[in-house]
Subunit: 148 residues, 12 copies
């Protein structure tokens, strides 16, 4: 089982950017913990971060045929990117959407996600723990599907 | 650590009601798995289901002073109950909101949650696994808070 | 053939409450006429009225497996209850929605019904006669379905 | 007692047009059954179908002074014709609005009816049976009014 | 100077239809007064009424090249007919829009006129006198234009 | 018969301000023509212009008990002044609303008039001629009322 | 004179729930002060609190024929309960609506009250003093009505 | 303790303007009763009425440094005046907003108040009694604040 | 292969009506070019123009069973006719929608088409060339379908 | 070159009113600095402040023919005054709009400016420095225009 | 004559991505056919595909001064990219917008195109044939323009 | 003091793109003038332009820890980029937003800026002079902050 984790714009600033909203962990620390968790779950995991919508789309397309699942924190593109949504539904790989902050208690424009309607599910508000939960959710979903 | 799980209206039908949306697990099966999970986590857990908005509010109020955390699947009240929201923010106990189905891909009126803005976070779309993730998330949140 | 008639909030006041809108028949008188009509149609009929959304949901759930059809006047819950709608679509029993007054000529907030999209059909505006028509419609629907 | 039944645009296609939505009865078959029903009720009945908004308005106006009641299925004009509404409220003859399909579960633009707010009531969703119910409702309404 | 007066749907009912809204004059009486007024103003006038949107459009087109001005009471088509608006702007003859009732104090859907933005001006609310004022306005407008 | 004409903000600039929209007549020229017209109609007329919402309200109140009718061009206050509307409906003197330009073809925010729903009627788009028509309409309305 | 005071959901938490919004008085303390005030006014008073919409409706209905006036703080049901509004307008007993907090400065969804349009009036924002003012307002209203 | 009462536009017409909405008391009568009430409460009171938004703003500013509290019935400016709101929040004197009529049951545009979100509270619908209640509420609020 | 071309309201004015928007070709010229093009494609073609919504619907219905494809420029009915849409989806013949002008850069109310969602596709903005492209598109679509 | 600076409602309170939003400079201090700046730029400058919408309009009109440019901080009238906008576009003198606070980060109703669409440009959010920048912008604009 | 064809995000997946929506042709196949078609038309053609909004903008800018026309399928950027629209209107080269699927029958957010209002026209819904039609339309448009 | 100037998409076309909207200065000319102005102010300045949203975000992030202030003209991304806004608020460097054209008088979709609510202030409409004013505003802001 092979999983790609996509981090959207500004997530490379984690730990340095508005810690009262996004927490004090760095992205490297999060990725390291995810790698350990993946190993425990017997899952191959890789990571990609970009501030470029197009680069994220390229990465999603690159997953076609070689990844079993995707976990994405689309950052600001959550609310504005039809193109990213189209890439995700185009490759037809199960995707789990995660957010560090609870987007439903922030500005009005953060309440709508273009990604959620084509994702398996959405996890929002648990800080860095959203990623851990997201990986569990994704692996569980993929194993259930395979089992059925 | 002491946690109450609240199941809103129609969740007692689980396994029998629209399984293509809500899955084939019964509520008892879900509760049994949560109880086992809680034991593993060293957490006391109890369950309450009701179709009555008022009974859910009574239960939330009853948690005041004796529960450390709440997990709720508010069902149809998610989208209509200011009173339930007020109860949850009134008792000031951390609450995690879970949904079996991905509410963001269903009817327009299911996209808004009155509960989400006063919850720690929201988990939506993973079927019965949403509960398992929700309990993990809640316990992790409570332990982090205590630690800090 | 076995039918349950559900009367929502304030319908127990019928005959006493705003007769210029709702007419001067009491609920007992309406139920008595429906019972006679049902007998003529060879249908078993029972009645339930409650002002409690949760009690109505309980009653809908109780119909699962033992009723062939439901007729409901959801009263004020027509416009606000996702939970009642979920119960009705959850039990998957054909339901006919009736209203004494013509909800489409009243306040804006009465124009939308959460129930109508999951009902067989809606009858609105004929006073107590809406119930008689609704029972005919329901029985006709059930018999057509069985025939086909 | 003298009743005119008005069929709006495309109802002449009944039985041939989208039978999964509108059923397989032809308009002639429906009219024949209504005629028999009317005879049983001791009511004179006539029928008019047109695809032309103006022809329907002419027919409504022609009913002034010679019809006691109207039953109309305004078809697509339900949602767009202020002129037809004005004709109906102008002649001041009681009118019952019927729809074969349940307009409340179809496209958003079919939810609003210009006719409903000036009709006695609306019946929607029972296929060809909507007409039978509509005639009963209309005759019952006219007889109650006369009686009072 | 040659003027055509167009009466939209249901105006043939004038004097018989909802006199508390539209007054008790018949359309013939109004036309007769307009004819006299036109004669006094040295203007040729003709009249056309139809309940058919298409017939009104035909009449507007027929005015091309042979009328100097148009006065129209578009009735219910005021609020729904893009096609009539297109005809009026297509023939490029100055048009004055009149209404018997004050459309701005009636139902919300009567507040918007598709015709007004392409008319010289609009006169609304003076009963049959709206027509007299409209003819004065139109003739005055045409004479000013010619003078300039 | 005694009539007050109220000119709202910026109408004192007439002839100098945006003549392509408002025409080249000055307010004095318009008032002079209205005075002559009033004399012809056997009506006493007076004029008041102000850029101050409060002064216009004072003038409306001052008309109570001593004016039979009001004609008002509320200018920019048309679209923003509830207080002016309240004054006009408070004194219960028939009021005719006039506009030089056709407000229905200008910016969206000029389409709604707070005054129209409490006026006898509205005349819009005929340049300075709107005033002449408005005075005719007002006098005709007052004489019809007295006659009835 | 006989008055019933209805406290909606979560008001039993008063003094314990979000005191920065709702104040530090308990409901018992407020009721005690209201009882003393009622005695001073020569009015019989009773109290009822429930978190159940249905129970509040039952209580409103129970007031029919035996109460002269109602004072209600509908809590969260203010913004969501058509059924409670229908009960209040159904029993036709004068009702005064009170709120501890100023609902007009809180979340958007708290700005609309289903109750206000069928109440005598609304008092909002004065903490526990809203109740005292509400009782004065209600008694004054009832005595004025009786006097006239 | 020193209080200023501000009466907005058209309130000088009280007793003469639409008594079925605003009651038959004159403003002088109301002020006289308020003066007596203030004396009973040991409070200095003054009154100011104007139809001019600017004059009301001047009066609010004049209260800075010499008044302890304000009571205002902003009349039509309630729904349109950002400038009056800014004045009131600028002087930072506690203000109570009162309305004679129940603004929540009148036209849609009267439901929103620019003043309410910066007021202590709002009292609406009790006729002239709204003022008496407002003065009580204001004095009670000021005394509580001083006490704390 | 047999194709019907439908021209909606005001298209008979082509070449004379607002040439800066609609071009200077007449409808006859366009039809002649389409006939030649059809001959080249080996397709039978006929034309129908009407200003009457009902006549267009009649023509659509008349195509049932004898036409393989439809091309329609619905003119002003594009934005207002549910009945025409219902006719087109009722006959279940593939339809291509064309517009001379680019409706997406004109008034807001021209942006929505009732026809587009039930058409194969839409071509808009190429003047008379839209028809040529539309015929190509339609024939290509029909031949692909047949081939598959 | 001759410039008039207009200060809208409540700006006379500057330095005393909500300094955390508007800063601690008084209006006199700002005007003094602007006068010095104008002298440096070789520009004649005058100032006018009023809380009265009408007085501001009078001042705008008074500038006609004797001022080359206007700088305005319309305060609360920014969001509500069509009349002030009409005055500014009526006199056709270039106007620069300035705001002390960043109106785009405050309440929703402060985001729309009636003035901006008819101004040269808008400067918002720099405290008292907005005025200095506005004067520079205005003088630069006037000199460029003259140069071209 | 020299034409650039721009393919937006995810179009490189054509043939592999959701073939039931986008068809089974690959982008290379489409480009090959377009190249042949261009040769037949005597037109030089080049192609560019990118998932990057910025790269598409760069390409549009690169066309300035060296291309006569553009054809673009903006994919997901159709609905979200003001910057791409600005580039297209900035270079002032005629552009034709094409879509494989009929965007007017898909999700609500796909109905609005930022590109359409600045394009010559839009072709939507004909699968790969949309490109062929688009090229014809573009060449025809460029030749007509040159001819005039 | 060290400042970075960011130019968004299409600003590299300045002088060549729609000069009636954006002026005839090239970006190099503007940058040169800004460099001279910065030198005069004793400020280090650098410039960056990109059509790529991601590249702009990278540049914003690169400013963290080495720039004191940012000036940005976000071009088309003003209205669509949550990611750019997040970058700007993430690095917590004061930012001034400038626009050449007056965005408030252009298309509706240009009225909202995602950047403005997190900027110090916004300057819009002064052509190339907006940049000069923006730099002054930024430096003044930074120096005031340092001083306080």
């Amino acid at each position: 089982m092979n999983v790609l984790v996509l981090h959207g714009p500004n997530l490379n600033l984690l730990g340095r950017r508005e810690p009262e909203i996004y927490g004090s962990d760095t992205l490297d620390a999060i990725n390291a913990r995810l790698a350990a968790q993946a190993q425990g779950l017997g899952v191959v995991i890789e990571f990609f971060q970009s501030n470029h919508e197009g680069a994220l789309i390229d990465a999603v397309q690159g997953a076609m045929g070689c990844r079993d699942g995707l976990m994405i924190n689309p950052g600001g593109y959550t609310h504005t990117s039809v193109a990213l949504r189209d890439a995700l539904s185009g490759v037809a790989i199960p995707v789990v959407e995660v957010h560090l902050s609870n987007i439903h208690k922030r500005e009005e424009f953060r309440h709508y996600s273009y990604i959620a309607p084509i994702a398996v599910g959405q996890i929002s508000g648990f800080g860095a723990d959203s990623y851990r939960l997201g990986l569990e959710a994704l692996v569980h979903h993929l194993r259930s599907k395979k089992a059925s």
